[in-house]
């Protein structure tokens, strides 16, 4: 289930600003309260896939350690995709929440 939302998770982690792969993983851990334990290596194929889809852009920078690292950032298309994903998730979450709580969804006839 988590894998199906990986793209949205990565986009959400990058919504704070540009970051390299390790920082993206740390951001996911921090924002999720350490809830997700993904194999860290699976983030990189997702980053590449999102970049190919035009949702991210990346560039090489030189870190303080002297190592070259790839920094990713959201594109406008990526921001729009994240906003749409958030809206869909909120609807889904509200519907599931209502279902599990045994109440009827809002706005539906009785």
């Amino acid at each position: 289930m988590l894998k199906g939302h990986l793209d949205m998770i990565v986009l959400a982690a990058l919504s704070a600003g540009p970051a390299h792969g390790y920082a993206v993983i740390e951001e996911i851990k921090r924002k999720s309260g350490q809830a997700f334990h993904l194999p860290q290596g699976t983030i990189y194929p997702a980053l590449h896939r999102l970049e190919q889809a035009g949702l991210l852009v990346s560039r090489w920078v030189t870190a303080e350690s002297g190592r070259r690292r790839r920094v990713y950032s959201l594109t406008r298309r990526g921001e729009r995709a994240l906003a749409e994903g958030r809206a869909v998730w909120q609807q889904f979450s509200a519907a599931i929440g209502g279902l599990l709580a045994g109440t009827r969804p809002h706005g539906r006839p009785a």
Binding site: H20, G21, Y22, I25, P39, Q40, G41, T42, Y44, P45, H48, R49, Q52, A63, S65, R67, R68, R69, R70
Partner: protein, 207 residues
Amino acid sequence: MISDYLDSLVGALSFDRPLSGRVRQEVEDHLREAVAADPAGDGPEAERRAIANFGDPRVIAAEFAMVSLAKQTRRVGAAIILVIAGVRIFRLRAAGLWISGLLRIPRLLQSSGLWIPRLLGTASLSLRGLRIAKQLGIPCLLQTPGLCAAKRLGTAPLPRWFGLWISEPAALFSVLRFRFRRSGRWLFRRSPFGELVAWGRVRDRAC
């Protein structure tokens, strides 16, 4: 340990050399940073943990294979579309050139007043008519209707300069020849085309 892990990952990504080079740099940076951030320090144990957290290189390579396949599919698809478009454009262009070439023939003939086919046709008709007339012993004046028809096919729509510099002199010469022939003397060499035009001019003037 990290180098061995990177080598195995790059080996698993050998299907896409540019991708494997980029991934190696990215993953090396990740693992070095993970080791540096490990509370236990940067020893072999921290490296082992970083590698374990990163995952099996074959599993990661399999996920990258999907990314690479999608990229190459897009490239091949774009190449196929370009090739198909190129072939179609070439075919359309070739067809267009062929059609325009065909269209150019009547246009050229039209722009030249169709004088080439008309001249050939009228020359042929006049020669044939003259031969028949000669065989039948028909006087030249009686050839006029046939020659006039030939002339109508040929020389009537020709440009003005043609009439001025060719038709009229030819008519004059032919009439003179006719006169001289009637008198039993040949002044000019036989000229079927001139004769044709001459009879046409005679008819035009007479009618």
